[in-house]
Structure formats: C-alpha cells, structure tokens
Amino acid sequence: FWNRPHMSQATISQRQAAIQQALNSGNTVAALNVVLTNPPFGLTDENLRTADRKAVSLALSQFKKDADIQNAIANLDADQLDILMKYIYAGLSLGEYSKELLNWHAIVLTKAGNGSIVRTIADKVNTL
C-alpha cells in the first residue's frame, strides 16, 4: 500500500486510450468501468494528473440523461463511489464540463452521502 509505485506515462496513456475506445463505440458504461478500475492514486506529475482528469471528465460528460447516470452508479460499492466523487471534484477544478459534472455531483451525493465529500477532502494518500 505504501510502496505502491506511481503510475507511469504509459499506464496513463493506456487508460486514456481505453476510455476513448469505449466512448467511440458509444459504450459510456464501459468507459466508466475503465475510470473506476485501478485509478492512478497519488500521482505527483501534474501533467499526467491533468491528462487523466481531462480524460475522465470527458467520459463523465458523455452521459446525457440523469437516468443513465443513476443506472450506472446503482451497483457501485462505497469505494468506487469515493473514487467517482474524487474524480468529479478533480474535473470541477479543471473548469471544463462544469454543467455535467455538477449534475453528476448532485446524483452521486444522494447515493454516497456527505461522507464521500469528507473523504475527498481528508484522504491525502489516495488523491486523484
């Protein structure tokens, strides 16, 4: 856990490519799964971090209807919801796709509760 190696440029690019591929075939749920599996916690390189956040914001912005979002998060467990909340705030800090991300925020908040926001603020090890 403490000796987890930082993800390299190659892994981040792979993630971006996988997300892009899923979006190209119109499968937004698959893109969400890529986002939530093995996220690059604790990245220090700012460029990689921004690239990853941009890819994830793009993926999240492709969910057009509220019903789609609710179906997608219906089966997520608490850890995955935390990852999602961290990515939502990460995307909001970039400034793009604000409307879609604020929408996601409201829906994930109803499911995950205020605790997910507290963990986004307080978790300094698993930052996204």
Binding site: Y89, K99, A106, I117, T120
Partner: protein, 177 residues
C-alpha cells in the same frame, strides 16, 4: 458577443448546491493549538506550517473564470471566490465593491481582509466561529453571498450605464439647437 455571454452561462443552482454540500463537509473544525509556538492558537490554513493538519484543496468551478477555492485544515477553512467579470466595467465594479467589504472585514467576522492571490474575495472560518455561530447558518451566509453578489454587480453596472447615458445626453444637449 452579447449572445455568447448568455449562451455560456450555466444554471446557478447546481453550482450553489455543490458548494453548499462541500462547505458543510469542510466545516468540521475543532480547536487545535499551534504546534510551532507554545500557547498560540493559529488558523492552520493560514499558518501553513504543518502539512499534516492541512487537507486537500477543492475547486468548484462553474466556468474557467468563475470558481470557488475551498482550503480546509483541522481548525479553519478558507473560502476564496473568483467572480465572473465579463468586461472592464465589471472588473472595476467588482474590485470596488469587494474592497468596500474587505475594509469593513471586522464587521463581517468571517471575511478576510485581503483576498487570496488569484481570487476576488476570501472568507476565513475558524473553529471559534463554528462554536459561536450555527454551522449551517455560516454556510447559508456564504452561499447567499455568492447568489446575491452577481446581481448586485450587474445592477451597479446598469446604474453606471444609465447615469452615463443621462450625463452624456444633458451635456450634448448644449450642442444642439
């Protein structure tokens, strides 16, 4: 250019709801004596001496120019607001109005005298404020501020334009027959 402004503006309510939820989560503050200086009690988000007691920063943005930065620590929260300023008149009015508030910061209690660099105005809420005042009311105050400041600045802008128009009219009347 005028229509671009209308097209780009997002609904205010989701933005404010997100900020309200984030502030409610961030304002879980407790007393924490300074670890550097004996018998001192500093807001850790301002002192920034120990990385252990500082938490992650959160930026909630509505657009790249309009955002709120929320920095938390164990005993204090700093909330910095960057307002949307579409043109130069907006910039001047925002600066003047917020400077008016900042000069009277003692009366506002939670206002910071100078804004954090890069932002227009900052609030500093400490654990002592949370003990003396209701936390949900503090959050309400900040969200209400965000809601009303935009309309105040646009009404000032309208007033300036109206006054300018009247003055110009009166002045130019002397040149017509």
């Amino acid at each position: 250019k005028k229509f671009e402004h209308i097209r780009m503006s997002l609904a205010l309510q989701p933005y404010l709801d997100c900020i309200r939820a984030t502030l409610t989560a961030a304002m879980c503050l407790q007393n924490f004596a300074s670890q550097e200086v004996e018998r001192h009690n500093k807001p850790e988000v301002e002192a920034r001496q120990n990385p252990d007691v500082l938490l992650n920063d959160i930026i909630v943005s509505r657009s790249p120019q309009e955002k709120v930065l929320i920095e938390t620590s164990i005993n204090s929260v700093r909330i910095s607001v960057c307002l949307k300023k579409s043109d130069e008149l907006d910039q001047i009015l925002t600066k003047r109005m917020l400077r008016f508030f900042c000069q009277r910061a003692e009366n506002f209690v939670i206002l910071r005298r100078k804004a954090v660099p890069g932002y227009d105005i900052s609030f500093l809420v400490t654990n002592f404020h949370c003990e003396a005042m209701y936390k949900h009311k503090l959050v309400d105050f900040i969200v209400a501020f965000l809601q009303d400041i935009d309309s105040e600045i646009s009404s000032s802008k309208l007033a300036v334009s109206a006054r300018g128009r009247i003055v110009a009219n009166e002045f130019l009347k002397t040149f017509t027959r």
